[in-house]
């Protein structure tokens, strides 16, 4: 239990979400007679949700720092239309287009970050305003038209890893990627065990580590198999690749670097952080700016996928991203959350969406179900904490390791609980 928990930053809600995700996948796999875990559907799922997941990465940092960003959908749409126009009207190549899109994201982010960090206007207000401004700007510069992008550019939204090397019947690069991931997982587990031992810290029992490794590696290999055996011309999608790179980079930044620590510190207790020498304004500025850059990237990926930019791109994305973050274990009051958790939260929503679609459930019911899932996921957690009971998820794993010593507030993710107890 502890060992498994450690994988996901020790947050029980995220931990539970992983299992909710697995349960959900199995449920839909059975309910749809095996149509869920087909190469085509899995690839589709990734392609169709990568931009929301990318937004979730930025959003979790914003939320950890104690803010919110409502403008991401509009910013994505605005960057998307601008890049489409740059490429069409100025004839610049696709890579320059992407670079300019990212730059535009930086500028927009600087604008919003300035108001939030240096003027001190709540991010809710600043980004609500941004939501209106950039939606309007998208429709103004695009004259509410659809603007197509060239096929080179479309690759970032709908491309796949190319075929290289000998014909194996599988996509070779995808296989390599999968094997590299497995190797990395095993290597890092061995390393963390070794350092824990050297420091005299608690080392998880060997069988726990092995079970964990087997489960994770099996999942990776199965996913690799699915991606590598799609219909000809498809393999691991480019947006998935971008997403994976971002997850690794941001996961690392948030948990292992000084700036990452500072984001948690500012969100956890801004005054204490400032009196420890953290430049909270700078942190807030960077977090808001980063969000807009990622929103720009998500917008470009979406434009690439849908082959054109339109006036209603990105409507409602902010809410999907925020939902993913909260399902993934972040706290409204800031200071709590992880990148990987938010990705899992986003995947829960995505799988739910996809599975219901496959079952032929209408958009109306799908929305109702998604809304309830968000509420229940968070309510479960809050309820268990306020009751001072063990979390349901903790009880589920009673025989899975050493969960008996789990204390009620170990799962704390809202500060109210702490202040009440203190």
């Amino acid at each position: 239990m502890n060992a498994l928990k450690k994988l996901f930053g020790g947050n029980t809600r995220q931990f539970g979400m992983i299992f909710a995700l697995v349960a959900l996948i199995i449920f839909f796999q059975i309910a749809t007679d095996g149509r869920t875990l087909t190469p085509g559907n899995v690839i589709n799922l990734f392609n169709g949700n990568s931009y929301i997941l990318i937004l979730a990465i930025g959003m979790v940092l914003v939320i950890i720092a104690g803010h919110i960003d409502l403008s991401v959908g509009s910013v994505a749409a605005f960057v998307g239309v601008c890049v489409a126009l740059f490429i069409r009207d100025w004839g610049i190549p696709w890579y320059l287009g992407i670079l300019m899109g990212l730059l535009l994201g930086v500028l927009i982010g600087a604008w919003q970050g300035f108001w939030v960090a240096y003027i001190g206007i709540p991010a809710f207000i600043v980004t609500l305003s941004g939501m209106l401004i950039f939606r309007g700007a998208n429709q103004y510069v695009g004259k509410s038209n659809t603007i197509p992008v060239p096929s080179d550019f479309q690759k970032i939204g709908s491309g796949y890893l190319p075929e290289v090397g000998p014909t194996t019947g599988y996509n070779n690069l995808t296989l390599l990627l999968g094997l590299a991931a497995v190797a990395f997982v095993i290597f890092s587990e061995i390393r963390s065990r070794r350092t824990a031992k050297a420091l005299g810290a608690e080392v998880p029992e060997t069988w726990v580590s092995i079970t964990k490794l087997v489960l994770i590696c099996a999942a990776i290999l199965y996913a690799t198999y699915l991606f590598a055996t799609g219909r000809p011309g498809t393999s691991f999608p480019i947006p998935g690749l971008i997403l994976a790179a971002l997850v690794i980079i941001y996961g690392f930044i948030s948990s292992k670097t000084v700036i990452g620590r500072h984001i948690y510190a500012v969100g956890g207790n801004r005054h204490a952080a400032e009196l420890s020498g953290v430049q909270s304004k700078k942190v807030n500025f960077l977090v808001m700016m980063n969000m807009s850059v990622l929103a720009g990237l998500a917008g470009m990926i979406f434009v690439g996928r849908s082959t054109a930019s339109g006036p209603f791109d990105g409507v409602g994305w902010e809410l999907d991203a925020i939902a993913a973050v909260f399902i993934g274990g972040a706290a409204v009051t800031g200071g709590v959350g992880t990148v990987i958790g938010s990705i899992v939260g986003g995947l829960v929503m995505a799988v739910l969406n996809n599975g219901l679609q496959l079952l032929g459930v209408g958009a109306d019911l799908t929305q109702i179900i998604k809304g309830l899932v968000l509420l229940i996921a968070v309510a479960f957690d809050v309820y268990n904490k306020t009751q001072g009971k063990k979390s349901i998820i903790g009880l589920m794993f009673k025989n899975f390791g050493r969960s008996s010593e789990m204390k009620p507030d170990e799962t704390t993710s809202t500060k109210e609980v702490i202040s009440k107890g203190a």
């Binding site: 670097t257 948690y264 009196l275 420890s276 020498g277 200071g335 702490i418």
Partner: protein, 518 residues
Amino acid sequence: MTSLNTHSDPVILEMRSITKEFPGVKALSEVNLRVKAGEIHAICGENGAGKSTLMKVLSGVYPYGSYTGDIVYQSEVQQFKDIRASEHAGIVIIHQELALIPELSIMENIFLGNEPTKRGVIDWAEARTRSTELLARVGLREDPETPIKEIGVGKQQLVEIAKALNKSVKLLILDEPTAALNESDSQHLLDLMLGLKGRGITSIIISHKLNEIEQIADSITIIRDGKSIETLNVKADGVDEDRIIKGMVGRTLESRFPDHEPKIGEVFFEVKNWNVGHPQVQDRMVCKNSNFFVRRGEIVGFAGLMGAGRTELARSVFGRSYGRFLSGHVYMDGKEVELKSVRQAIDAGLGYVTEDRKTLGLNLLDDIKETTVSANLKKVSKRNVIDANKVFTVAEQYRKSLRTKAPSVEEGVAKLSGGNQQKVVLAKWMFTDPELLILDEPTRGIDVGAKYEIYGIIQQLANQGKGVIVISSELPELLGLSDRIYTIFEGAITGVLNKDEASQENLMKLMTSARKTA
């Protein structure tokens, strides 16, 4: 338990063998408490001894059924299911963190949840008359329509009591009522409690300030490690502070300060003509032309009443983290330094331990190891990447050397007691390796045993040749610890006394009067 069972004093409250368990912890075990009608009954114990838990059981925060044992109140066994039920019976608890709404007026706060109505509509005229009456009873001269945020903590405390009186309280429980008050407000509050006693209201007071307890309490129940140790009758048993401490810690502390031979070197830190304006109010000054210096190995005390400008002076020097900087110079080792931000101050070798641990000092979401390194991440990281192993080792090292009581350095700081939290904060600043450490109320809300250890840590720092500034409202603490004491009054330094010439009396005089000669 000598003279408690006299027939003349009826018992208003008796808690019999109360046991309360949390998962894995027995917070209270077979605690007994007998409170006589009309007395002031103090509950003493170290932090974490179970005082607050006991009061939460009594007031229904922990409802009937979640503990074992009986609460007999006014000769009946009570089964309070929530706070409302206990309030209905006349038991009102006033917590350390006041439960007032800053934006509402005094009057609205007094009647919150208990509004006088006429056919469903709030009768403000009635509320006004009654609140004026209540404010007079607690000796607070303020317009009932003043917003709570505009009056000080001392007055807010009085509003809480007025609110309790409005609920026709019979048993008033005060949890650390004077912790945040200055001497004169504290005295006023204590007088008020004696006044209420005269009107037949029984009070239970929880406090770490033993001198106050000695002053007003009729009996004292001592709780240690979740058990009731003894009940002392103040008048009959001739109780003094040392006697109470002995009960609380289970042994006599020979001295409340560790022995210390100061090794004082030359002046290395100096502040000259320091002027700072109030952060919001334009023309108000919080530091007026202040000058002070610190020698190596010296413990310097800052004495002053609450609000005199001690914290303001310290924080404005510490990277201008408070107020509007107007003018002044800081010299370190003879060279002038500019400390424009907290970062610069830390880099220059300053550290500041805040008086308000929970809101300014700690991120309660962090664990011990994260907190320990939080002011000096540079030292545990390479090219901005944090070395988790180093963090662990460093934190473990401080946990051992400061004897922080926690199962591991991965324990959340929110779960530690006040004393242990303070040790973690000290570790955090010691890890920045400061030349000058400023400690603002370093022992507030900390029990006697941990205080002694913290004094030891402070002296150890001084022995290493660092300078230490201690800001404290407790004069005995300053007198016991400091080598030299500055007094501050209304933002200006009014005097400086060496250890051998300082006494409570002359400090108090300097703390309450402007300097005659400029």
